[in-house]
Symmetry: C2
Subunit: 215 residues, 2 copies
């Protein structure tokens, strides 16, 4: 494997590179200088240079290791990583980040669209119908009005009279006002208007029975 080379190359010591540096382009002392200056002074310069170079390459190595460590954790985090080379890792990471961002915002939207939205009944009376796109013939009806006993059953009866069925409801009551969300199954396109007007009547006028036998 490619990654196994890493361990091997750690064996290399710095003498190789020092020798190479001296051989190639490192300034030599002039012969005409005195022995002492040409030797001790230049040698200390050489040694300083070597030391600096060594420090430099060691620092660079630390930097590489820091970066490669992060690549390593990325490798461990990312699922289904086929190509393990650095560029592919970064590409895959970017893809993942984008996907996760989209997923998170979608889920937040969903959450908002269910419970959070229904949390507060609006002040004025309101009635809204919309078709759910995820299922055929499913209509979501949202209504805000004054709360009263028997409201739910009135609504259920109204919908039952239209041969439709309430499959799910959410209801919040706060301060005497109620916001109700109904998911109604079995509403045809042409009967949407009728459903709306029926619900409107039920919302505002207590039914016959409710008036005669107030609870």
């Amino acid at each position: 494997m490619v990654l196994l080379r890493q361990g091997m190359q750690h064996v290399r010591n710095y003498y190789n590179s020092e020798a190479q540096m001296i051989r190639s382009n490192f300034p030599r002392p002039f012969i005409s200088q005195t022995y002492k200056s040409s030797f001790t002074k230049q040698k200390s310069k050489v040694e300083n240079k070597l030391l600096a170079a060594k420090k430099h390459s060691e620092a660079e190595k630390r930097r590489r290791m820091r970066i490669n460590g992060q690549y390593e954790t990325l490798r461990s985090i990312l699922p289904n990583l086929i190509k393990k080379d650095k560029a592919s890792i970064l590409v895959e990471t970017i893809k993942q980040v984008k996907e996760l961002k989209k997923k998170a915002s979608n889920l937040e939207e969903q959450n908002r669209g269910t419970l959070k939205e229904v949390k507060f009944p609006s002040g004025g009376d309101r009635l809204n119908l919309e078709k759910c796109n995820d299922e055929e013939g499913l209509v979501k009806a949202t209504l805000s009005c004054e709360d009263r006993p028997g409201l739910m059953s009135s609504i259920a009866r109204a919908i039952g009279s239209m041969k439709a069925k309430v499959v799910k409801t959410e209801m919040v009551t706060v301060g005497g006002r109620t916001k109700t969300v109904l998911w109604v199954q079995g509403i045809e396109n042409e009967s949407m208007g009728m459903l709306k007007s029926t619900l409107k009547v039920v919302m505002h006028k207590p039914s016959f029975k409710m008036r005669r036998f107030p609870q």
Copy 2:
């Protein structure tokens, strides 16, 4: 800026490196060889080597650019990126990925914990009360039973008689059975048992009014 150096270094051509290669450690032809062999043959070898080296360094440059391009897009994607160096980018990326994963799973959990959970009424009659830890005095009551008109208002009356209040309800009706979740505010610890028994009665026996005026 550090990143501005990139553009400058592109100006460097390959003659520098070729010269350096010849100067430092590239094999020289022997003088004792014939003119032809020592010149043309070695020159072609040199040229081949140079060509190969050039190809190599160009390929390496492409690789670097590929990787650095991904760093660039990461820089653009990640918000609030203070330190722009490679290691920090990777660290920040990893943090983001972990956070997003956690966030996504939390939101999924939330979604599951609200709507999905309440979706199916259980077959047998069931009544469960639990205290909500996020708010003081808030109790979540879950009950599954046969559906009937007026059930909701019976429940509401029962709870009202205990000086408590239903602040939110979720209700699913499917196949004549109903699962209802009530969030009840204002229940003391000692009245939990009373609430439970009251709800039990309401669940199984239609109220007086309901029996006299069946809807």
